[in-house]
Symmetry: C2
Subunit: 238 residues, 2 copies
Amino acid sequence: MNNIKVCLTPSLFPIYSDRTSVVVVVDVLRATSAICTALELGVESIIPVSTIEDALDYKDNDEYIIAAERNGKIVRGFDLGNSPTEYSNHSLEGKKMVLTTTNGTKAINIAKQDHLVVTGSFLNLKALTSFLVEMDKGIIILCAGWKNDYCLEDTLFAGALTEQLINNEKFYYDNDSTASSLMLYQKAKDNLFDFLKDSQHRKRLAHLGIENDVRYCLELNKSEVIPILKDNILISHS
Amino acid sequence: MNNIKVCLTPSLFPIYSDRTSVVVVVDVLRATSAICTALELGVESIIPVSTIEDALDYKDNDEYIIAAERNGKIVRGFDLGNSPTEYSNHSLEGKKMVLTTTNGTKAINIAKQDHLVVTGSFLNLKALTSFLVEMDKGIIILCAGWKNDYCLEDTLFAGALTEQLINNEKFYYDNDSTASSLMLYQKAKDNLFDFLKDSQHRKRLAHLGIENDVRYCLELNKSEVIPILKDNILISHS
């Protein structure tokens, strides 16, 4: 049996890292929803970088589209941020993307040293579950959180994924963070949007007028894409 | 209005520390329940120390009773651990205690640099609430957790204290960890003991055969004691 461990913030990842589990990085609002969407729209590959500086290295290279978000907004001088609903307004098919976000891409880069990394979102929950069942390994669900602190929406996704996985006899959990995530999700799942309405990050996003993005990111199973990190680049697993 | 912020593990405390809030350190199973009980039994003062080495400095001094716990057990060579039900078998009235525990005393020492520190447990929930209402300041509820990681029982206490405080118009909360703690407590409060039965720490303690301690630590409002740190020593606030 494989253990499902929920790591509630990147700050705690050193406690969880075990060099063998698959790490599912989660940044529901919005990085990992954007990654799934970009690959769904035909983006060939996504290079996740932690800093604006690293993203700027690609700026004069026509091969790359650069998406950069900080504090919920597109960084000045870049064309795209991490709004998945915005991505469909651009012609992205076959393109290579470079992405840096406040929380999500950093979490990917923390996890990749010692682990196979995939990214999760409500959009690809079911497909991801099937992939993880097939992998048959321990799982660390790494919530990107907000600036190293806890956030509710990633925890809810961790609970949703746990609920899916424990339907399969290959998986169990024994730690308090996984139990808490599952309980919170079970309370929230009938109406995720309303449940999250008081969350800190939702309030941040409401300020920015992107409630549409929130509704989109909370839709389940719209995509079969499994974003997987290979040689430091996210591609769609096939 | 004063903000109630729940810090889910000591690892996250640097994000929460603001130099003005009162910090309520929580280690329900069992350090802060033991501290409350010791003061209730007439212990004059408790010096919380982080390491066994620091505790040993007091070993040859008859003025002090030393209590030392690691991984749920009394440390070899010491008379007492952190079992509150055990304390009543000793004559503690008027004594000075030195205490070191796996999680709780470390959390106290992390918080004391820049904050007024009190300790909380279900045993003194109501009395603590009255004290905090009177103080009328921002509050950080610092969950000691388990070896810097999240644990459920401290989170539940954080939810219980939040529920009490928001009955008073002086307090509000706006962060996700406080919201989550409150939701978990509201799900658990009708039967804390059963709710916690699958928690990691409960399983650790069950191994040690101290279910009695757990039942005791989950009793509400048995004590009027407010343990408060003054000059690095815990005393009963009067």
